[in-house]
Amino acid sequence: MHGGASISRIISRCIIRILPLFFLSCHESGSQPVEITFWAMGAEGEHIKSLLPQFERLNPGIRVKVQAIPWGAAHEKLLTAFAGNSTPDLCQLGNTWIPEFQALDALYPLDSLIAGSEVIHPQAFFEGIWNTNMINGRVLGIPWYVDTRVLFYRKDVLEALGYPRPPQTWAEWLEISQKIKAAAANGETRYANFFSLIYNDWQVPAILMMSNGGRLLRDNYCYGAFDEPANREALKFYLDFFREGLAPRTMTEFVNIYQGFASATFAMTITGPWNVNEIRKRSPEIAGKWSTAPMPRALNRNSVAGGASLVIFKNSPYPGAAWRFIEFLATAETQVEFFRITRDLPAVRRAWEAPELRNDPEARAFFQQLEAVQPTPPIPEWEQIAVKIQEHLEKAVYGQATLDEAIAQLNRDVDRILEKRRWLISNHLITSVE
């Protein structure tokens, strides 16, 4: 009896002591830190978590909840979230997706925040990359990390043929390619270049058109302009690599590009920054025998501006807190640290002064190239159009269509895709870009 009474007394005491804690915590939530949700994709979504403690120490009032989303599902998930009114506060967006979310009117314009910021100045970023975040003169995203395509080449193969430096112009590029093919021993399959033809790989032809001074779309991005002379010339230059056997149509001769590059089955390719580390890791035997270089020059040496930006969604209740986090991620110090974790190239130019970036010859080419990058057309239909470029050129590469047929079909398909856009503009349902 006595024991029972004491137990109930203990329990009631516990309740008396614990109960106020609930009220206390409820009461405190008013002044408790605000929690912002941040959707990040792929590897970034995992790696960003290690930077959070530092941010939360500097900003005790803000908690960041990171949700990692696989790249493959990201686009669909974001659109579904928009339709269901459950977008996060802050999100990482591929910079070709910004026009799409701009068309949805889902993004918070950042101009006034930039004007009042002590950390973020447009000049601190690569100009071409910054421009991918500007639509109709308004800034909708802040570059987080950058991506572009450069020339990867085998130094030893080129040196053996008497070329101590990578091709600087298109003419030189073609000349070297022909020499590589001619130098192949009997019975040996040697290609000069490798251009990926898989679905989605539209970058190489697009870069060639850009650097030949071509515009991809005309009349306020309402019609395809692929039949214009600069574009036609660039596409012919591209196709001739396949027609003359200077680039393979299929990957029959090698398992993957790393093995093909290591065995010098091809000596040059155009690809992105992630392959610098992949080649180092997978083909250590060719260390020192290869490097990277900015694109060979036609009219200019522009490449395509890629990468990911940080955006705030319009219906976020805490744009201010989200902006603080963007500011934190955009400081040169954080950018360097993020580079160390992910190897993603920093968007802030001052971050490139860090020794591991300054002294890395392969990264150097990217820095030079990033000063000459050009955004793809800032319209939501762009990715759809890009796939069409690849689709029709693939037919020409395989000889199922002539170049002019491919161009005509491409223009027709692109004009059809843009029909909606023309209708929207003529009825003033969207603001036109130019």
């Binding site: 068309a103 029959t252 759809q384 689709e391 037919k395 349902l429």
Partner: protein, 294 residues
């Protein structure tokens, strides 16, 4: 009187409500959507959608990719369907034979692909199809044939996917055939043997007619399943090379979820639906006539 009329509906209500909410409403919404040009612009603001009546259907008729996808799907169904049925019938007869040992092992082995995830299977098959290091080309090299670029050439990509689909799916049909075979009374074979029928004649005149209802069922299931050909090209080829493995469902998925052309995508889905309805009607007509003949 009234009470009697309402009682069945009362009991049917849960099922009817489920059907209504999860089937008829979405299908109705999709039908409506297929009459508009609903796209990414319209998602943000419904003013930007146009009611275009049969525009999407007409667009499909003049879209070479749609026809290409329809052709590819037809190719897959017409070649892959009969092949799957023949292989599963052969496997079922073999497994039903009294001479075979380790039946349970083979049954499990043949059924294994059916229950394995296609994505996992695809990884292995991609290696097997590799032009230089894959086992298929290795085997061909003994006969001085090849190498064939299985998934990389537009001529071979579809046959390669058909082979994969047959291997992946025949086990399921085989089980159904096996059940059908076991239902055939031994006395029929006995009678045939007394009449002097050999192995081949026994199967031709006893097994095949006795299996007719099972075959009709298997054919319907296989054809309907194969018309929805999607996962194989989605994981193996993404519809390439040069769209030679683009199927109807893959095409409508790309239009809908990659480009958010929901209107057009719904229209394609309805075209596929009508094709399947016609096939099902045809099938039931054949079956009815067949049963009358019996």
């Amino acid at each position: 009187m009234n009470k009697n009329l309402y009682t069945p509906f009362f009991f049917l209500a849960p099922a009817l409500a489920t059907l209504l909410i999860f089937f008829f409403l979405p299908v109705g919404a999709a039908l409506l959507m297929s009459l508009t040009d609903f796209d990414i612009y319209a998602l943000g603001n419904m003013d930007r959608a146009r009611f275009i009546l049969f525009g999407n259907y007409l667009r499909a008729l003049s879209d070479p990719l749609f026809w290409k996808a329809l052709f590819n799907t037809g190719y897959f169904v017409l070649v892959g369907g009969p092949l799957t049925i023949l292989v599963s019938l052969a496997a079922a007869i073999a497994l039903n034979s009294k001479l075979l040992r380790f039946k349970k092992f083979f049954r499990l082995a043949f059924f294994m692909p059916v229950i394995t995830t296609l994505v996992a299977v695809a990884v292995v098959w991609r290696y097997m199809y590799h032009p230089r290091f894959g086992i298929f080309n290795y085997l061909l090299s003994f006969f001085n044939l090849g190498p064939v670029d299985w998934l990389g050439s537009s001529a071979w990509a579809m046959p390669s996917l058909i082979l994969l689909a047959v291997w992946k799916n025949f086990g399921y049909n085989m089980m159904i055939f096996l059940a059908g075979l076991q239902a055939i009374p031994d006395s029929l074979y006995e009678a045939a043997r007394i009449d002097g029928a050999n192995w081949w004649q026994q199967h031709l005149h006893v097994t095949i007619p006795q299996l007719a209802p099972t075959t009709v069922f298997v054919t319907v299931i296989t054809i309907i399943g194969y018309f929805q050909f999607f996962a194989e090209p989605y994981v193996m080829t993404q519809g390439g090379p040069v769209n030679s493995t683009l199927s109807i469902v893959l095409y409508l998925y790309q239009q809908g979820f990659r480009w958010w052309q929901m209107g057009y995508s719904s229209a394609i889905a309805f075209v596929l639906f009508f094709i399947l309805v016609i096939l099902a009607l045809l099938q039931s007509a054949i079956q009815k006539r067949y049963q009358e003949a019996l």
